[in-house]
Symmetry: C2
Subunit: 420 residues, 2 copies
């Protein structure tokens, strides 16, 4: 364990670690692990979708998907997402190619028009709760609109609910919470039933409080006994807060990243309001891509089957990363991590004040990681210790090289930090 070493021992170790790092660096690798991107084999699983026979291009209702119309999306595609998210088709609307755009749109509407006909626009003092570590692109949207982000510590069962309840009850400017509740980005935690119930039922000072429930990984299991997530739409309904939650999902990491389709589930009242908003900004989304997805999957069971193939491809990569971390860092007490049961990331927590240095060392040695701090609002990790590892994209041999450089960088940065 590095922390048990004397300054002299650490100093000597550092010299050794510097040499080790230089050896890795001299290999001149060039690897990008910065984003959660599917790998070639994963993408290839859906290739046949790209020349499906689309028949007469008509939806089951007889609507020509090649033409304008149906801003909601075609019924049969809505049904697949409705089954995925366990809601009625009247509680769901399809979007374009990215659920992130729907999140952005809803924040825009909230800021410009209010979250319903009767609500005022979110004011300049608006705050949103952000369980951390979290998804950097959520934070970017909120920051763009000048919405203050309040960090909420996240544990295995979800965000610190005592703090969440306290802040939402006390401050009417706390207007929402944004999170990835299942196989969270980056930790891979799934919110407990109690967490979901408390989020649905808690008293909020703001009447227009909203939960942004980015269920991006709801079918992205990496184990035989998948986590389960309580249905927040129905929990909110039961608790008398039917309009509280917006649930997002997409096929970006099921079929094609950027070439998928997305959906939003909420109360029928919210969906009606959203439908009106969307009808201002577009005539319709790409129904041909919806039809393609329907022909490819048939129904939600088709997606479930498809996800097993994804698991087969990426689970070994998660095992590889965790194995290397276990072997190269655990004996030295240099950080902790979680082998996730699903999702797309491994969240690595090193010693305090090492994350930025590790990312910089990796970059110098040719391995691009997600920026240190990215998993926190404003890019500020108070302990400078969290790094999001995205294992899916690189081939296994490259992943192995990248993780060896990562571990060498962690060892060196840790020795430096302990000496500082």
């Amino acid at each position: 364990m590095y922390i048990d070493l004397s300054k002299e021992e650490l100093g000597a170790l550092k010299t050794v670690l510097e040499k080790e790092y230089e050896t890795f660096k001299s290999k001149g690798l060039k690897l990008d692990m910065s984003r959660g991107k599917p790998c070639n084999e994963q993408l290839a699983l859906s290739d046949s979708m790209l020349n499906m026979d689309l028949g007469d291009y008509k939806s089951e209702s007889g609507f020509d998907c090649r033409n304008y119309g149906l801003p909601d999306g075609i019924d049969e595609a809505k049904r697949i997402f409705a089954d995925m998210l366990d809601v009625g088709t009247d509680e769901l609307i399809l979007g374009g190619n990215a659920s992130l755009s729907l999140i952005y749109d809803i924040v825009t509407w909230a800021k410009c028009f209010g979250v319903s006909e009767k609500d005022e626009p979110w004011n300049a003092q608006t705050k949103v709760l952000c369980p951390v570590p979290g998804y950097d692109r959520h934070f970017t949207i909120l920051e763009k609109f000048g919405i203050e982000m309040l960090c909420i510590p996240l544990s295995r069962s979800g965000p610190d609910m005592n703090l969440v309840e306290k802040l939402t009850a006390e401050d009417e400017n706390v207007k929402g919470i944004i999170c990835v509740p299942m196989y969270s980005n980056p930790d891979g935690f799934t919110y407990s039933d109690e967490t979901v119930r408390r989020l649905s039922a808690m008293k909020t000072a703001a009447e227009d409080f909203r939960i942004f429930w980015d269920n991006a990984y709801c079918v992205h299991h990496l184990c035989d006994t998948p986590d389960t997530l309580l249905n927040i739409t129905s929990e909110c309904k039961k608790a008398g807060n039917p309009d509280r939650a917006y649930v997002f999902a997409s096929t970006s990491k099921i079929t094609f990243a950027g070439g998928g389709i997305c959906a939003l589930a909420s109360s029928a009242a919210n969906i009606n309001y959203i439908r009106k908003q969307i009808s201002v900004q577009t005539i319709c989304f790409d129904k041909l891509n919806q039809l393609r997805h329907v022909k490819f999957f048939g129904n939600f069971a088709g997606i479930t089957e498809h996800m097993k193939k994804h698991r087969k491809i990426i689970e070994p990569k998660f095992n590889l990363v965790c194995g290397i971390l276990e072997r190269e860092l655990a004996p030295h007490g240099l950080g902790d991590w979680n082998k996730p049961r699903g999702g797309y990331f491994i969240s690595f927590n090193g010693l305090n004040n090492t994350a930025k240095r590790v990312v910089a060392l990796c970059r110098e040695a040719g391995v691009v990681l997600t920026g240190a701090g990215a998993t926190f609002p404003y890019g500020k990790d108070p302990d400078d210790k969290n790094i999001r590892i995205a294992p899916t994209f690189p081939p296994e041999n490259e992943l192995k090289s990248a993780m060896e450089i990562f571990c060498a960088s962690v060892r060196l940065a840790s020795a430096e930090a302990l000496l500082a």
Copy 2:
């Protein structure tokens, strides 16, 4: 000529026209001519695009179009639009499936953040000039954001430029103009070179004045000697106002309506700013659809060829409508219209105070037209006389029936109006 008739003659005529109308009504037709939708034969022109061989799914730069990335779009698709709009590829960015969404986005950014880093958000007193008649969906976006719309009369050479120059020079809250400059919606007018030059060079009290140049029909010719439109991007540059114009185009009415791709051209500085905005709201647009379009068309010349096939299908429909109007209404002096040289619509101006009644009569008889007033901001046609006719979608026999009902309705509504 109806206007030459005495009250008695008109009264007798009205009785005849009522019977005639009832005969049409009793046929129980059901036709929708409310939107400018391509017809089945037009859509079929691009069917083979839907199972193109996309090779290894890579862009010419080697980027896998199935994966995240390239928020700007792929270079080869950018080139097609750059050639279409006669700009450099650094002056252009691709969007999703609808240029309307890009217009909405830019208005949103203007209202929330300002049109550039140095500009303030458009204030609550913001006004935008709207040449009329115009496109209802433009007006819907502006109205949604509470932007005051000022009507500018449109003639064959474009908007009344004396009025445009006066208003923009006098009032710093006049922040923009929104228009369809080529084969205008609905009139089919193309702005003259002088109009384009004056718009580009005029003094504006607002430093953040912008031209929304919706070039939706730039390749949609319906004649052998197409109209030409001066390049506003380069005119603005020449006039020392490089950032003034946003130019929009899409393939919605080239390939698939709702299943196409769109683009925005502007100064490189504007495009840089827009790129930053877009990167907040999405990771990328659907590059597979961009690739599909590239494989299908090859280059801009491919689009030009393709549009000739569209013309072959729809020109007879425009001729049919104009022929019926000529035969059934011209002899009675009941309105005027323009056989357009391109675009998607025929703009019909009846006698004052007849448009709403005509649309209602048509609807009762089973023919749905674009709502009267839709071509004006707030849905208010001051003379209640303009009706947008969309001839492309119905088969010719149905179009003929619809236009007969339309003419019968115009005759009846005109007699009623003259008697009132």
